[in-house]
Each structure stands twice: as C-alpha cells, then as structure tokens.
Amino acid sequence: MTATNEKASIPAMNIWYYANPERFAGLARTLLPWLMGSAIIAAVTGTVWGLMIAPPDYQQGEAMRIIYVHVPAAWMSMFVYAVMAISSAVAFIWKHPLADVAAKASAPIGAVFTALALATGMLWGKPMWGAWWVWDARLTSVLILFFLYLGYIVLWNAIEEPARAARAARILALVGAINIPIIKFSVDWWNTLHQASSVMRMDGPTMPASMLWPLLIMALAYNLLYAAILMMRMRAEIAERRLRSIRLGLEPSPA
C-alpha cells in the first residue's frame, strides 16, 4: 500500500489514526452522548421487560428475575478483563499509545461489574441454595477476578514512574487472564451449585425467547454503558497525561 492510499483510508478502519491521543479524545467526545443515550434506553427497556413482561421461572418463580442484572454483570466482569488483557498485549507488542490508557480506564469499571455479579449472585443464592456464599469453583474464581481488578488498580497507583507502572500492570493483566477460561468452564469442570450456562452454549441457548430477549437487551445496555464510561475515563486519562507533560515542560505542539 502506498503512502497516499494509507492517507485516504477510512480513519475508523485504522487504529493508528487514533493513536494521537487528542484525536481520540475528539472521537470519544462525539461518541459519548450516543453511547450513554442508547445505554439508558436499552437499560430501561431491559428492566421493564425483565421485571414486568417476562414470565416467572417454573422452578425459581419471581426470584429468577435477578438473572437480568446478575448475568450481564457477570458477562461484563469477564469481557472487561479480556479487553484489559488484549489491550495490555497490544501495548507490549505494538506500543500503541492508547492501549495502556484503555486498560487502565477499564479496570475500575470491571471491578464494579464483578462486585455486582458477586452481590447479585449472593442475593440470588440465598433463596435458591439457602446460602449467601459457597466456596465452589465458580464463585471462588470470580472472587479471584475481583481481587485481580483491585490488584491491577493498586499497582498503577503504587508505582510512581508511569512507564514502570504500565509495564507491571500489563504483566498482571496478562497473567491474570488465565482466570477467564477457568471462570467460564468452572461450572463444567467441577461440581458446583451454580447452574450451567443456558445462553452461551455450543449447541445454542436453552432459555426460552421470552426470557432470552430481556437478558440480551440488558447485556447490550451493560456493554453500551461500559463503552460510555470507558470514553469518559480515557478522556480523563488523556487529559491527565497531557497535564503531566505540561507540568514537566514537555507540552506537545497543539494538534
């Protein structure tokens, strides 16, 4: 590909076009209201559908409605970690300047989703299993995921020099990624009280459509909300880096 062709390519298709942090911040500014607006619409739709329209479960009754806040949070807890691990790999291999920013900005959001998965899981476990908590593979591996998020956040704050902090955080994110398949398959590999997957299965979902739709809409809402908060936090992170370079007298020329 010649240099002229490269310039003419659609910016959105090229991750290096947005390697300029100020350019990315502009994109984030444009996307933010759309992401936030659609997240709110999807969340309201999913909540009303899940609480009022979807039928109760024949075994679990109305308690089953906790699924519409529990499962999306649990999916996001793993998805956000996967984003962090992939971003960390991208930062290592291609040195993309936004990869560390994306990973660092994701961690607190992922921690909140994981805490919600645990909390709503306990609120669901108590009436169904008779216990708030059991030390089985699924619950324990998700608790470890929560501590991985906390460790990642602490690591960034504990190391003064940004380049060293970034390196240590990348290593932690990548090593911790081994936990993700463990969480996913824990219900198949070990005996557990936790029910098996009923949506993300090789043979397709086993859940009836009347319950599957509100669940998928809630999952969409959580994804959109993650994207919206990610845009905010990445903008903040970019501004903080700029501020740091201004204070060090290294202000780059305006884009």
Binding site: H70, P127, R233, P254
Partner: protein, 73 residues
C-alpha cells in the same frame, strides 16, 4: 398464559422474593450510577485543568521573559 390486570401489590411482593429481587436491582442501579457519576466528574475536572494549564503554558511561551517588571494581570 392469559393477561392479568396489573396489581402493584403483587408486583412489589415478587412472589415472596422481594427481599432478594429489589436489592439486586437497587444495588445494580446505584453502583452503575456511582461509577458513571465519578468518571464524569473526574473527566470534567481534569479536562478543565489541562485546558487551563495548556493556555497558560502557551501564553508564557509566546511572551518570552523580556519584561519581567511588567505586572501580569
């Protein structure tokens, strides 16, 4: 299933699981609202400070320190 008239009392009772269903939704709402709010506030604050610092540093770069006696307003 036949459509039944909406009854608020029945809805709020959640088939006896109200003590588990409503805290799940309430907690999710509050936690997501909190992370959204704090992230928004952080972003606004840092962007404002960075913009001000950038203007200040550019202004000082434009005016070399030739007339240090002149008061800066």
């Amino acid at each position: 299933m036949t459509a039944q008239p909406f009854d608020l009392q029945t809805f709020l009772e959640m088939g006896g699981y109200a003590a588990y269903v409503w805290p799940s939704y309430g907690l999710s709402f509050l936690a997501l609202l909190a992370i959204t709010w704090f992230s928004w506030r952080w972003m606004r604050r840092v962007e404002r400070i960075a913009a001000a610092a950038s203007t200040a540093s550019r202004a000082s770069a434009d005016k070399p320190a030739q007339q240090p006696s002149e008061p800066v307003v």
